[in-house]
Symmetry: C2
Subunit: 598 residues, 2 copies
């Protein structure tokens, strides 16, 4: 076994020789970003390491997934602001009544007598508040033994009217659940104590389906090849979740069989794949899902690491590209009780937009692409340690880097900032084109002009010179990167305009614009407004609501009323299929411009 | 491969060399009696065989389970009157309305459109009569493929509101179900066409749990040793049923996935074991079952060979020793609509008694023991080929043998006949004791006297001399055999008396006495009356109602109304626990006498 110390978190684990740093990190419960599934191709897992032997202590940069441990090693991690560790701006958890569907009953069951030889199951049933509960063969199997080994004192866990566990003695002080958010890029599990409603801890990782591609279409394409490919995708996400759940279970000493319910949100494709349901026909028009309603299955049927008879609730979808994650956002943002007209934008790998008002809820989905999550951008990365998150351009470029001095790449908020600034000073024009003619460069401050260059026939702007980076090469934004951002920006702005038009309102009538998701938390509103990503309303009316999809899942886990609400909201929501809207293409093209065009 | 021809049924099969005759018979779909599970100890599977090579054609008697086939062989079977082949006296099937809970719907599902991209599941649901059906993940998994491969034409099989299959095209002309009777000694499966209500065929075999003992107590004892023993017993009965079902499926070209429902009856212990539920506490007082209600589980959960999502219905029990088989009898005999007061006796391995009248249904169970099924009797056998079924004693013994001239053993009806006759002529007295003193023997006809002898210090009566038997040895009834019969007879008569007393009626008030079960079909009523097994009412009021337990299961399979009735009857039935009745021991001892003592 080899000792590996992770700094600055100062966590040490022992792993067998030959394990990669990535595997050691997973064992230590530490998340290192990786989007290629450990194949050494994405380069996102680069870390600094040195031997623990101080005499040989050269620091090397290696790919955590490719470096196999041979000796005691120290690994240096940038401190991260993980999605799951960020605080939400709206503290919804306080607003809801703690009324989970899971309830525990401690029962002293009378012994049978010759005069009244009532069956074990019926004597148990008689003590529960519901006079008629579902008979569960799997619980009846060992019931007589549990009763008699525990002097007829047991605890029954009920999920509404369905008994899901009969436990020896009094276990009423132990009751846990999971809120799960299956993103195309990231999967997150939150372990929650159902007795006090507290989130014990959250754990996330890259969605292990990513080896089949970063976007939903490539996952669907793979799944459509046959039943075994579909099963493979299902297995990947469930194995990934099981790793997260097991880590949480071990770290916080919660038995898997003490986890009685899971509430899952995800986009429609992710929900299909999680349930092993063929998503093939989500890809071509008319984008038909197999199901849209709320689905409940027992955990064993999916192989999810929790009480096997516990119920996994997948919240309802709205349409093929507006999933239960968006329903989670609706619950969390309480769209059914907001005043006036409100716009909510959740930017993940896709961008979903909700416009609520006039007694209606309109939704649409835009192919925003994963640009804001760092994919498709040359030096793009998620908002974790080493990411450029703010950019200001004056005489030279000034940066803010997450948790460090040296840059590793640029995240979505940094990208918007950078591009907004590049337009402002004239490095690019509003159409997104680089101003690289000599007469154009002359107008720029010299240090800025020196950053504009051409590489392989493509214009690019140097954000950070190699010496100031972790990776040892210049971090640049290319013309292609700008185009990717424009496409994403254009899609969201056009989608917003279509929804406003559909409801018959102007952006000036908006009460609030709410930004959900990891990206929403960190975006610099001024820059987003300046490039026309958001409608130009007063900046104080633009608020962030955190990881609202996950919050929605937690709320449903903690209150049956919220589940009823989720079903109602999903039914009430009207989906506007943008590809079916006559005006969409025109609005989209108009919105590509990097300026306000609402 | 070796050819084996079975005569007189004239069925030929080819099996690999080394297979036993018993295995070959099973492959041929022929049932040979065996109670030791093929271990060569019960001797019940003895058959005659010769080589097909006529020059070596000596006929040998061998144990079918022990003789391994080496060459082309001809096997001679006595023609059997199998339980499952016997006709029932009451033709209940005609009385019920054909209204199974399984219904098939052929649907032409509209294709989705951009204007209305309704999910596959919801477009299917919309065409069904119930507006809201249960969402079944397992059916949704492949739904999109089935729809699109079949031009959106499918057949949905529903079990009430639960969809259990989505099949390509129009399969509405194919719909099957199973009625299953799990007896302690014999298990029987009936394959039924749910479209016309016809029984296609029935197949039975010895309950493969018999290697753990012939009676329920020895099965419970084994199951109580641990979870793996319980699972072993469950596996044995399910494997046995699967053999029967697969044989029926192959012989009648019915796909296992075309079997949509199974209705199961059995005594309470058999029901527990079939469901894998610990029966331990059925053995000691107060004989507590784990469950008593009707149970429904999906077939895959039990591993039963049928549509995996199809539902297996186990009918409700009445008490620890009055099971769903008795409820089946109640349905079949229509105890809730009979006139006057009626007594029903179902004699299997246990004897269950029902007394219906005055708006009540009383039941009890007697430890009749398996004497009437041939167990515990030295030359006892089931009522199949070679069994002595009638005995008359005049100058000598006259016999009726089932399907043949040569005797192999004696079945329950023969036993009652023999003992009644032995009492009548004075071979034994009413207390059951052999009259073997010289002065007693002198009073008997000489040929009868010569049949009374002593062997190993025990008196016995030679029914058939060796030369007239299949087995080549004298078939006798021993003093112990007589005692076994007395215990069984005493238990049933005493149970009947207790029920009459409980209801406050006299036997003279009985409208009918109905005899159910294999035994009931063939009993000679005069003998049963003469020895006081049945209350002394006019012989024409004693009727046989066939294998009423199986009939009840069939009726439930064919009509949802009958299922509702089963649940009602099970609830209405009052169980009288004989061991808890002060007068029972006294009545039992009184009833041991081989004469009328009602």
């Amino acid at each position: 076994m080899i000792k590996v110390q992770f700094l600055p978190v100062n966590k040490t684990v022992e792993v067998p020789a030959g394990k990669s740093i990535l595997e050691a990190a997973r064992i230590a419960g530490i998340q290192i970003e990786s989007t290629c599934g450990g194949r050494g191709t994405c380069g996102k897992c680069k870390v600094a390491k040195r031997s623990s032997n101080v005499e040989e202590s050269t620091i090397e940069w290696v790919l955590a997934c490719q470096y196999n441990l041979k000796e005691e090693t120290v690994v240096f991690l940038e401190e991260k602001k993980e999605v799951s560790q960020r605080k939400t701006s709206l503290d919804q958890m306080k607003k809801i009544e703690l009324e989970p569907s899971i309830k525990k009953y401690v029962l002293h069951i009378p012994k049978p007598s010759l005069e009244n030889p009532v069956p074990d199951w019926e004597r148990l049933e008689a003590l529960l508040p519901d006079s008629k509960i579902t008979f569960k063969r799997s619980l009846a199997v060992s019931l007589p033994r549990i009763l008699r080994d525990n002097n007829h004192k047991v605890t029954v866990a009920m999920d509404s009217k369905v008994p899901i566990a009969v436990e020896p003695g009094d276990t009423s002080n132990r009751c846990f659940g999971l809120a799960i958010d299956i993103g195309t890029t990231t999967i997150v599990a939150h372990l929650i104590n159902l007795i006090n409603g507290q989130v014990i801890a959250s754990q996330g990782m890259t969605n292990p389906q990513n080896i089949f591609g970063a976007d939903v279409i490539s996952r669907i394409t793979h799944a459509s090849q046959g039943h075994s490919q579909l099963e493979e995708l299902q297995k990947r996400v469930i194995d990934g979740l099981n790793t997260l759940i097991t880590e949480l279970s071990e770290a916080y000493v919660v038995g898997l069989e003490e986890i009685y319910q899971a509430v899952v949100v995800g986009n429609t494709t992710m929900s299909h794949l999680f349930l092993g349901i063929d998503p093939t026909y989500l890809a071509p028009a008319p984008f038909t899902p197999v199901f849209q309603q709320e689905v409940e299955v027992e955990a064993w049927e999916l192989g999810l690491a929790m009480l096997s008879t516990g119920i996994v609730i997948v919240l309802p979808n709205v349409a093929g590209y507006v999933g239960s994650d968006t329903v989670g956002v609706m619950i969390s943002a309480e769209v059914d009780s907001l005043k006036g007209i409100n716009l909510i934008i959740d930017i993940g790998t896709n961008g979903e937009i909700i416009l609520a008002g006039k007694g209606k809820i309109l939704t649409c989905s835009t192919a925003a692409g994963p640009a804001f999550e760092g994919a498709e951008i040359k030096f793009g990365m998620r908002a974790s340690g080493g990411a450029i998150e703010e950019v200001r351009i004056s005489d030279d470029v000034e940066l803010e880097i997450i948790a460090g001095d040296q840059a590793q790449g640029i995240c979505g908020s940094g990208l918007i900032d950078a591009v907004a600034e590049m337009v402002r000073v004239g490095v690019i024009d509003a159409s997104g084109r680089f101003q690289h003619r000599a007469d154009q460069l002359e107008k720029l401050p010299p240090l800025i002009a020196s950053r504009v260059r051409s590489s392989n026939g493509q214009s690019e702007f140097v954000l950070v010179w190699a010496k100031d980076t972790v990776i040892g090469e210049d971090i640049v934004l290319t013309q292609k990167d700008i185009r990717e951002l424009q496409l994403a920006k254009g899609a969201i702005a056009a989608g917003t305009k279509i929804l406003l038009k559909e409801m018959g309102v102007k952006f000036t009538q908006l009460n609030k614009v709410m930004l959900a998701g990891a990206f929403g938390n960190f975006i610099k509103k001024e820059s987003a407004l300046r490039m026309g990503l958001l409608p130009p309303i007063p900046i104080e009316d633009i608020i962030t609501i955190g990881n609202a999809a996950s919050e929605g899942a937690k709320m449903v886990l903690l209150s049956t009323k919220e589940k009823i609400r989720a079903v109602k909201l999903a039914k009430k929501a009207e989906h506007i299929e943008l590809s079916n809207q006559k005006g969409f293409q025109e609005e989209f093209i108009k919105s590509l411009s990097l300026g306000i065009n609402f």
